[in-house]
Symmetry: C2
Subunit: 295 residues, 2 copies
């Protein structure tokens, strides 16, 4: 299975000419998950050629405008395009009030069911699960209730070695059992260990989205060993006081989180509009955690 | 005095890659007036090089998302940029509830006073007046309460002929009177008519914004002889039934309004996303009202 991440926006607070507000689309096994939905997200999706009619699940980390002000426009566009399929929205319960009020004053009812899942930002909980993936919340430390999200691929059945099936004349009904880890005895009673019959799938993949948050080690255990960590890095570390005051991270903070969590790769984002050139943030993070990229 | 209009967006309902949602900036004698504020308006203003810190007055025609979903983002950006000067917002009273709820859930208080002026869409009223301009509302016919706006330059004092001042030895205190329309008697008692002493200013200018609205002649008298009329033209006239059902105009409707109102020029806008090529709308309108432009 592949995870494909498209970052539609990675600016903090105010969009700039080169960076839109926070929004990402994660594609997992043909499903599209939208993570945050800052102003202009629907236009960014058009630019990136993302078929937003295929989004069924939307996750909003918190109710600062730069993380959700594009949502109402996107939902209205889906409505006007005639969408009928349900949309699941995972967010702080106050977002439902905001949406309901706007629908009321504009005398609008969505053509599709909007199923609201209220998040409790104080706990971690499983909010979505299918045959491929499990999604959990991450309590973050921000000025208002905020949840991060971790998307983890489920372990898949072992793959059976095709040449083995005919070689040992394995009946069809045994194949499924072997894939689930069973050993196999042939007609003569000879036992074959599962490890002889199968090979391992590639390890499962995980993606963690942590924005917005101040520096805290309280979520390290929830993102342990993740493949890719998107951690906000609003400021350079010389502005660490601003970061602490405003419950944001510096690029050094993000690198320390990645290091301590054992993440394989770090993606920085949510940059302050004051930075035209992001290379200094990258350089600062790389001194602590080499495998870092800029969103 | 010059009127300079910048159309930031002219798409109806859903933004497209080439057209944003409704928003315009009218510059009158160094004042910037923002008319509607669809999603992405703040980014469009950056693209057009408009200094949005200089906007003190914002007019929202109605509470369909494509006309106001960029407002909260703009106000938050102004807040984060440290704005202190008051902003006057003219809109349906429900907009104040929407803003207040969003401020409450995000635990935010604007740094600047936001002065809300509730509009009554059933009547025409003067909502702004200074030494240069007067702004009135236009009741429109839409699915929810909607007001258009007409911006009219005030008549200015006559200009005195400079060569006359020395020729007839006109005292300073008389000059102001002459500019206001008075005649003048010189030391010998000889009377000079005002028309001999002054020349007329260019005629006053007016701009009318009518969007969204179904076809109605009820607002013709309010936009009579305006210099420029922006009238919505969501559809071609072959979709006139759609237009009537949805309280929108066709390009033919807009041209008829311009013709009957005696407008000098017509600007079409608020196009349905179905039209990639807008030339057919223009052609259709021009058959009725020649001096038509596309926004």
């Amino acid at each position: 299975m592949s995870f494909k991440l498209t970052v539609l926006g990675c600016s903090s607070a105010t969009p700039t000419l080169s960076r839109h507000s926070s929004a990402q689309v994660l594609k997992v096994h043909e499903r599209l998950f939208l993570i945050d939905c800052g102003e202009g997200a629907q236009i960014q999706m058009r630019k990136f050629g993302i078929k937003f009619q295929r989004i069924d699940h939307i996750f909003i980390s918190h109710l600062h405008g730069d993380h959700f002000l594009g949502l109402m426009g996107l939902l209205l566009t889906l409505h006007l395009l005639g969408r009928k399929n349900e949309i699941h929205l995972y967010a702080n319960p106050d977002l439902e009030k905001i949406i309901d009020l706007q629908l009321e004053v504009s005398n609008t009812n969505f053509n599709f069911p909007l199923i609201f899942h209220a998040l409790d930002s104080n706990i971690t909980e499983t909010i979505f699960e299918d045959e491929n993936i499990i999604i959990k919340t991450i309590p973050l430390d921000h000025r208002i209730p905020t949840s991060g999200f971790i998307f983890t691929e489920k372990p898949r059945p072992q793959k059976i070695r095709k040449e083995i099936i005919s070689k040992y004349d394995i009946p069809f009904e045994e194949i499924t059992k072997i894939k689930m880890g069973a050993d196999f005895s042939d007609k003569t009673g000879k036992l074959f260990k599962n490890s002889e019959l199968t090979f391992d799938n590639p390890p499962t993949v995980s993606y963690a989205y942590c924005s917005d948050t101040g520096y805290t080690e309280s979520y390290l255990h929830l993102i342990k060993n993740c493949n890719l960590l998107y951690n906000e890095a609003t400021f350079m570390h010389n502005l660490v006081k601003n970061a602490r005051d405003k419950y944001h991270c510096t690029s050094v903070d993000a690198a320390n989180i990645a290091l301590k969590a054992g993440a394989k790769q770090l993606l920085l984002g949510h940059y302050s509009a004051r930075y035209d050139d992001l290379q200094p943030l990258l350089k600062e993070a790389k001194q602590i955690f080499e495998n870092t990229l800029l969103a």
